[in-house]
Symmetry: none
Subunit: 240 residues, 2 copies
Amino acid sequence: MTLLFLRCNPLQKLILIVEDDVAIREMVVDALVKAGFDTREADDAESALTLVGEKLPDLMLLDWMLPGHSGVEFARRLKHKEDTSEIPIIMLTAKGEEHDRLAGFDAGIDDYVTKPFSPRELIARIRAVLRRTSMYGGPSAIQSGKLSLDPASHRVLSNNQPVKLGPKEFKLLHFLMTHPERVFNRVQLLDRVWGRNVYVEDRTVDVHIRRLRKALFPFGADNYIQTVHGTGYRFSSENQ
Amino acid sequence: MTLLFLRCNPLQKLILIVEDDVAIREMVVDALVKAGFDTREADDAESALTLVGEKLPDLMLLDWMLPGHSGVEFARRLKHKEDTSEIPIIMLTAKGEEHDRLAGFDAGIDDYVTKPFSPRELIARIRAVLRRTSMYGGPSAIQSGKLSLDPASHRVLSNNQPVKLGPKEFKLLHFLMTHPERVFNRVQLLDRVWGRNVYVEDRTVDVHIRRLRKALFPFGADNYIQTVHGTGYRFSSENQ
DNA sequence: TTTTTTTGTTACAAAACTGTTACTGTTAGG
DNA sequence: CCTAACAGTAACAGTTTTGTAACAAAAAAA
């Protein structure tokens, strides 16, 4: 297998369009490229997943009707996977699918555009969604004080020194770092890090927090994770 | 002038609807109330501003065409003011205003709904926007003099220095700060902070007030909490 | 397979928090 | 000025919450 390292402009947002109608796809890609976006194309959920695996896009355009799975179901799956849950999704729907739109919103879809749409409107909506979501939690590395965490390479650095973390610890730190200055109780953390419908003891969180702190301690970075007595834990770049 | 103290559920999101068509307004309010939202109504920009000044809404529904100013212009003004710039806005537009929608997105409007719309779609969109925006910077911090209390991060800052408080102290201060300039007797405080059907001695309140003051003392912020002899306690941003 | 790593649970220790009390200082009114 | 009700304060003991280490099961790697 060959790995392709594509050099891409980091300032250029990557849009993944999943749509089986070639005509629409080309029209959209054309508009996106002209608007200065980088694009990837897929015509079904399968190949879309492959592309997502290669490089997390900054936004996805998802056709409502896809061969195999429906678009919403695919969106729901993405939203449930930790590493892809933050990718904003815009749905492309045909007229008269009004009722189902509601299901889409519930699935965590950020916006939708009704076919036929004007390229200008599409671009405007993409920009609007990106503006909203890129405020926090882009797919690029998260920096916080001397800590930096890169979801893509699955690495944590403290003062450019690699920190060794287990998968759960990484996920936990990742979640906390993407939601700094906010307290989460144990159940919330279990929900967001371990996943819904997973039953584990509350106190398991404490143990993992402890392990995280232990791993960060040699770098003097353990105090980023703070205990809020009676409530839960908080990540804060401001010590104390 | 009469001041009405409305008891409102802090978990209930406050939606401000600005719309001059009474029929639409009532329909929307009806739907919102049924969906569990708290609402305020205004029929022009003027009165909308007054209401915003009284209490910052969690979201605004803005009619495209308003008497006096246009809706977008009003939105732009809100987005430029520091304290209101974070309020998400959903525009209500009539059919055939396609072109202008783009201007709306540029003005920082979060979404728009085309009239006529179904209540269900409206609610779904409101929920979607709230979900997106409340992820970060949810119910913003309460500021009072040099003190600020942020429920999301569960933090109290005095001159940007963190104040260490226990859970009960935090809750007590939180309650007092959300009801400033108002005296509460010990039973009322026990009810609202400790919870109904909890029996503890009245004097316990005194002790916690004492602990709060002690924690605030190093910052010279202890005199925000004032004793009203024979009655109870009051939080006041004006010292003395 | 064996070995290593990761994970969840538990038990106990340590720390933090809470409510009560007893005592002291204050206030308001006679 | 005196007094009775009221509020401030510190100390204490009991409770709850969190930290920590050790262990065994599960998963991953070799």
